[in-house]
Symmetry: C2
Subunit: 242 residues, 2 copies
């Protein structure tokens, strides 16, 4: 049985303008791989309701799980929760369970639980809350979409709240063989090797280091013995260059 599939939707003008470098994609990709869920696609869209709704619908229909990051805070540009409700035709308003969590949190810290902060309790009717141990304001899961914050420390914590509840497949394992030769020299022998080990996948990731060409060949699969055989065979092919 193939592993469950997933997509990620990053919501935020700050990434598209080049102001901020996204960190959540790399983190989620690594955690999903460990959990045996295959991340197949990522989309980054701006803080635009139509773009968010369209992407949520497309990704939710195409993959087993969708993970979103960004746009669930208290300011005017935080429109993700409302967009998710719209995508699934659900009603959304301030919900008692989320409001109670936040009210207790702000009461304890002596900060005002004002109208802006109450916006963070806007949760679609049919959603279940995602625990946020960092800053309390919850994410939520609606159908197969897991809606999480953009701030990396909060995103990371929410991923850990969600993952244990999701069924993963066999974790994808990998071996990396570094070869200090140009990809053009590697390609021929590597192509033959990929045919011999057709249950494994081979990726070639070239680099230029101090003016010299090389490539990391990453072999992926779920069978340790096959992986070890293939990586040894590859090393033997380029003995002097690994």
């Amino acid at each position: 049985m193939p592993n469950p599939s997933a997509a990620m939707l990053v919501i935020g003008d700050e990434i598209l303008s080049g102001r901020t470098r996204d960190a959540n994609m790399h983190h989620l990709a690594g955690r999903l791989t460990e959990h045996g869920i295959d991340l197949k696609e990522v989309r980054v869209v701006s803080d635009d309701a139509d773009a968010i709704v369209a992407a949520v619908k497309a990704l939710s229909a195409g993959y087993d799980h969708v993970f979103t990051s960004g746009g669930i805070g208290p300011t005017h540009d935080d429109i993700t929760a409302d967009c998710i409700a719209r995508a699934f035709d659900d009603h959304i308003d301030i919900r008692d369970d989320a409001r109670d969590l936040l009210a207790a949190h702000y009461a304890a810290s002596g900060r005002e639980f004002n109208a802006a902060r109450q916006r963070m309790a806007r949760i679609p009717d049919r959603a279940t809350l995602i625990d946020n141990p960092v800053s309390i304001a919850p994410g939520f899961t609606l159908e197969n979409v897991h809606v999480m914050a953009g701030v990396p420390s909060v995103f990371t914590a929410m991923v850990e709240s969600v993952l244990p509840g999701l069924t993963g497949g066999a974790p994808l394992l990998s071996r990396t063989v570094r070869i200090n030769r140009g990809e053009g020299d590697i390609a021929g022998p590597l192509g033959l090797l990929t045919q011999e080990y057709d249950r494994l996948s081979f990726g070639s990731y070239p680099f230029i280091e101090n003016g010299a060409y090389g490539a990391n060949i990453v072999i992926r699969g779920t069978d340790v013995a096959q992986l070890d055989l293939a990586s040894r065979a590859l090393q033997d092919l380029f003995k002097e260059a690994t």
Copy 2:
């Protein structure tokens, strides 16, 4: 007149598996913003022909420009050029102009111009070449899609080859105001300010630093005077916290 719009398509399993952190998205986003082209969407897909073709078609139809990175090297998993040809129903084979460039390059460096390296001269019939001063193997432009390498130093060089030929709009300028208060305290006054300056866009990017909440408010627009007025007004609203 609005600025031209753009999308980026990142092709590569290594990003989706969490092995590699993408660097090209951040670079392209910054350069497009400077050039007055609005990056509206990014997609990351795996080395899968159907996924690449579908994404190229969708993005090419939706935006003025599409920039791709990855998958144009000599190895078996480099399938981008063939996918682009398929997306635009163009014929593709080793093309004389690209082969001549590469043959001269490998002759000069004494390396073999073997079958794998000749694959890098596979260019669709209707495409124009994109200059690659780093490692010679060219990218290409077909219709509104600019096809570039994934290796960051080569990607960066190809972006500089392409950009001068593209008409940009007014560069989007920005002012960032850092406010050492939680977004919940900022949201109300900020919301009123955004209504007052409706030709500017306001983004709020929260952070947690040493356990304390804050946010960078980024104001964007093309009118310097308006930007300066709005950022001063915002600073005045949160005098003690900026």
